[in-house]
């Protein structure tokens, strides 16, 4: 009989990270680039970065995820990587004929000090006659700064800054939905359409990372926001961004660009005066209401009947199921904005969140949790820059009834023999990670049913009597 994965009896803070509760910045950047139509991401660094990130994303999305690498060698590390980057761009153009090439940096290329902006200008100048030259975007995403979420939002901001220019005012609404599931994005698009809102979504990977089957291989998957639309961002009538934290936190260990961190919506507001609405990721009734209120205000339209009905049915379900979840203790972990949203939702259904944990490290998680969770906000233990072993040890001591988070916390739930409600990213041990619903009334309905059913199943399985009615 094999041993169990070792767990320490002592409780201390380690210098080392034990089972990281985050992945690295270029992964987030690559996902953001996947949300632009015709875009191929290029990771400027060693071959492994692109391959590992592809493997990680493929295991979640169950889709081909092509990401190119500039494939650093010892030479490029010593003499600079511009040659490799330009060879990579050339080969990507030859193979994919992309409309956009999105470059993410890595810890390696940042540390040797490659100037990507200059390299791209040089490439364009050297190929000035070539009509097939795509648009370029680049974002600074070294692995030593923040987590995959910082890379994601830095890249969203870079996309916005690159394409948004002063244009005539238009009727479009800029939507910055943050890192939500492909199904969430599709639901959000339906909602916007039903409100009669013409939108520009940055990014929109709802199709590119969740395609139907193909009869021939698509070198670049269909979908994504076209560059023509991105160029209209400067004239948008309003913007909505999901998440109070994004990449605005002060990243511990960050030495430069501390004040430069700005989100896409903030940039549009500062540069072009686009009115900005910030809402939490809309999970549950309270947080979804905020979104629907903003949409009503922007569109001048009432909430469509379909969503009023969904909301009503959700409240009805809350009433039917409230006893099964009331007073249960939950541990929530994952990306900071997701943790805020989930905690807000759990608080409104009567679950007591005892630990809100993230590998992210914005320094603003605590006040946001207090804001979103009026019942338990003040007593929830909130911890950033955490790893899974620390979460594991806290769970052993705090004895939650269930966990809410991604697949990587499964091993903790397994040892504690408690349910885990899988949300967010990555979902590596179940089907349908890309089809998970989190947002709006429908997402909350699915989450509420899952949690209620998990509690009922637990009770049923641990009961001496095999109740058929519960």
């Amino acid at each position: 009989m094999a041993d169990k994965i070792p767990v320490l009896k002592e409780r201390k803070n380690f210098v080392a990270t034990r089972n990281a509760c985050k992945v690295c910045s270029p992964l987030g950047g690559s996902i953001a680039y996947k949300g632009i139509k015709g875009c191929v991401p290029v990771i400027h660094g060693g071959q492994g970065c692109a391959t590992y990130i592809r493997r990680y994303l493929i295991s979640h999305y169950k889709e081909p995820v092509d990401i190119a690498s500039s494939n650093f060698s010892e030479e490029s590390t010593i003499f600079g990587g511009e040659g490799n980057l330009s060879a990579a761009i050339q080969n990507v153009i030859a193979q994919y004929k992309p409309e956009v090439v999105g470059v993410c940096t890595t810890c390696l290329s940042e540390t040797i000090g490659d100037d990507i902006g200059q390299a791209l200008r040089n490439y364009k100048a050297a190929n000035a006659d070539d009509k097939s030259i795509p648009e370029f975007v680049y974002s600074s995403t070294p692995s030593y700064q923040g987590s995959h979420m910082d890379g994601f939002h830095e890249t969203v901001a870079a996309i916005t800054k690159t394409f948004a220019t002063k244009v005539e005012a238009n009727e479009k609404v800029a939507i910055f939905p943050g890192f939500i599931s492909t199904e969430d994005l599709r639901m959000l698009k339906d909602i916007l359409t039903d409100f009669g809102i013409d939108y520009i979504m940055v990014p929109d990977y709802s199709e590119t990372l969740d395609n139907p089957v193909w009869d021939t291989y698509h070198r670049i998957p269909d979908g994504g926001t076209p560059v023509e639309d991105l160029k209209l961002l400067g004239g948008a009538k309003a913007s909505i961004e999901f998440g109070p934290i994004l990449n605005k936190g002060n990243l511990v260990g960050r030495l430069k660009n501390k004040n430069l961190a700005v989100t896409g919506a903030e940039y549009l507001s500062k540069e072009f005066g686009v009115k900005k609405y910030t809402v939490n990721v809309p999970v549950g009734i309270t947080q979804s209401d905020e979104l629907f209120k903003a949409l009503s205000e922007i569109s001048g339209n009432e909430v469509p009947m379909r969503y009023q009905m969904e909301r009503g049915r959700l409240i009805d379900a809350y009433a039917d199921g409230h006893k099964y979840v009331f007073g249960k203790k939950a541990v929530v972990y994952g990306e900071e904005d997701l943790v805020v949203a989930m905690t807000g939702f759990l608080d409104e259904i009567g679950v007591e969140v005892i630990l809100a944990a993230s590998g992210g490290n914005s320094g603003t998680l605590q006040p946001e949790i207090e804001k979103c969770a009026p019942t338990h906000g003040k007593t929830i233990q909130v911890m950033g820059d955490l790893d899974y072993e620390k979460i594991n040890e806290l769970c052993i001591d705090m004895k939650p009834d269930f966990l809410v988070g991604n697949s990587k916390g499964y091993y903790i739930a397994r040892e504690l023999e408690i349910p885990i409600i899988r949300v967010g990213f990555p979902i590596h041990d179940r089907m349908g990670g890309s089809r998970l619903k989190h947002i709006a009334y429908k997402g909350a309905q699915e989450l509420f049913d899952k949690i209620g059913n998990a509690m009922m199943e637990y009770k049923q399985e641990h009961s001496e009597i095999g109740y058929k009615y519960i």
Partner: protein, 444 residues
């Protein structure tokens, strides 16, 4: 071939159509979307299964996060290898150096987790900022008495294959450090099996039955103590030769231990592996035992395979795996199921293996080195393959285009080695190729 990257045409050969030798062991072209990873990856996969060692990745978080508990490598005892430790370097560490953080991190971890040994993996950034990992390792060994082994696996310093070598170099520092051990009469080491889905345990049972004992497996179900005494074995039996050949050669030159290259996939290669070991010890009893075992196993296996063969006869397969040596076994194993290989390639194959593949495959078969999704998807379409054998990165290509898929990479959860493995393989291929779901996909 203009639709592929120009530099890559020498790495693609269609048997009977192209005259050039297949080029291999080259660096991947920038921007090619190679399926290969990096030097670090090569080292990490080879050493990962050593279960009572503490593995720490020295660098920013990505490299550790992506390799946390990814292999299906099983341990019969300790599970320390399944925890992912990292120095998680931040910007200030990159600027001011990470040696101190590494030293502090390991001082704590060694005290708390009491590992038998420590492997420190260097990542790209460590190579650039110039941390003296070897000095930190020496210092820690002196202070704690625990063997601390640096693995020089900076990602940019070559290909995945160079990572295998860096891992082998680290292992060779452990080999031969237990002189007191007295080996049994007929003893071998298994090199290059990683005990994926418990495959080593199947093989160990076979060797035990023919009268041979395994001293150490490098590195499946691995233990530090076994590696230390592995130089006492009479023979090294090497599978996955790409990763472990360096250790085999070093042990031959340092300790005079001969080695044999084998494979455990398919009936022919599995049986040859047992016969070769029996032949080496030149004991008629061992050979008689091996023969008895093989005929006993085949008497069960051959009839059990028959129903699958009937369903799979004439189907076509594409193979894209890590090393070409395994691909050779797979071509033979597929043949046993009545299937034809129409595409075969690998990330890091060498000339000998590719030459052999060209000999055993039929006319029209595409052979490819260091391929990418664009090429692979074209090849499977143009050859009309029904099955793809590969790893996680190849799976969505197969499924998107409506092909069956069999995971033969290091994440597999089904044992595919040995005789029982051949049956599992047939079952898995059948379950995927003959699924009714493909009828909904319109294949043009």
């Amino acid at each position: 071939m203009s639709k592929y990257i120009k530099d890559r045409t020498s790495q693609i050969v269609t048997i009977g159509e192209d005259q050039h030798d297949l080029a291999c062991e080259k660096k991947s072209a920038a921007g090619s979307v190679s399926q290969r990873a990096c030097v670090f990856c090569g080292s990490r996969v080879v050493l990962y299964p050593i279960a009572d060692a503490l593995h720490i990745v020295h660098g920013p978080i990505g490299c550790a996060a992506y390799t946390w508990d990814i292999r299906g490598a099983m341990s019969s005892g300790p599970q320390l290898h399944r925890l992912s430790f990292s120095t998680d370097l931040r910007e200030k560490d990159v600027v001011f150096g990470g040696e101190k953080k590494l030293y502090n991190a390991l001082t704590e971890l060694i005290a708390s987790y009491k590992p038998e040994a420590v492997f420190i993996y260097s990542t790209c950034i460590v190579g650039v900022i110039g941390d003296d990992v070897e000095a930190v390792a020496r210092q820690l060994k002196k202070e704690t008495g625990v063997e601390v082994l640096p693995v020089m696996s900076e990602g940019f310093k070559g290909t995945k294959k160079d990572g295998y070598k860096a891992a082998c170099d680290a292992l060779m520092n452990l080999v031969g450090t237990d002189e007191d051990y007295v080996p049994p009469k007929y003893s071998i080491n298994i090199l290059g099996d990683f005990n994926l889905a418990g495959e080593l345990w199947i093989l160990a049972e076979y060797y035990k039955k023919i009268g041979v004992e395994i001293i150490a497996c490098l590195t499946g179900d691995g233990r530090v103590q076994q590696v230390r005494r592995s130089h006492k074995a009479s023979l090294n039996v090497v599978q996955c030769s790409g990763s472990m050949m360096h250790v085999a050669k070093e042990m031959e030159s340092q300790y005079g231990i001969p080695f044999k290259k084998v494979s455990y996939f398919g009936i022919e290669d599995m049986s040859d592996a047992l016969y070769e070991v029996a032949t080496h010890f030149n004991d008629p009893e061992l050979m008689a035992n091996a023969r008895a075992l093989v005929s006993e196993e085949l008497a069960i296996l051959i009839p059990a395979l028959q129903p699958y063969r009937e369903k799979l006869e004439g189907k076509k397969a594409a193979i894209y795996v890590g090393g070409a040596f395994k691909a050779i076994s797979l071509v033979k194993a597929l043949r046993l199921l009545g299937m034809k290989t129409v595409v075969v390639g690998s990330q890091t194959g060498n000339k000998d293996d590719y030459n052999l593949l060209q000999k055993i495959c039929d006319k029209g078969t595409v052979i490819v080195d260091d391929s990418n999704p664009n090429e692979l998807s074209d090849f499977v379409k143009q050859t009309g393959a029904d099955l793809f054998i590969g790893g996680v990165k190849e799976r969505p290509i197969a499924y998107k285009l409506g092909l069956g898929f069999c995971d033969h990479n290091h994440e597999r959860k089904e044992a595919l080695a040995g005789y029982i493995g051949m049956l599992n393989f047939a079952k898995e291929v059948y379950a995927s190729v003959c699924s009714p779901v493909w009828k909904f996909i319109d294949k043009k």
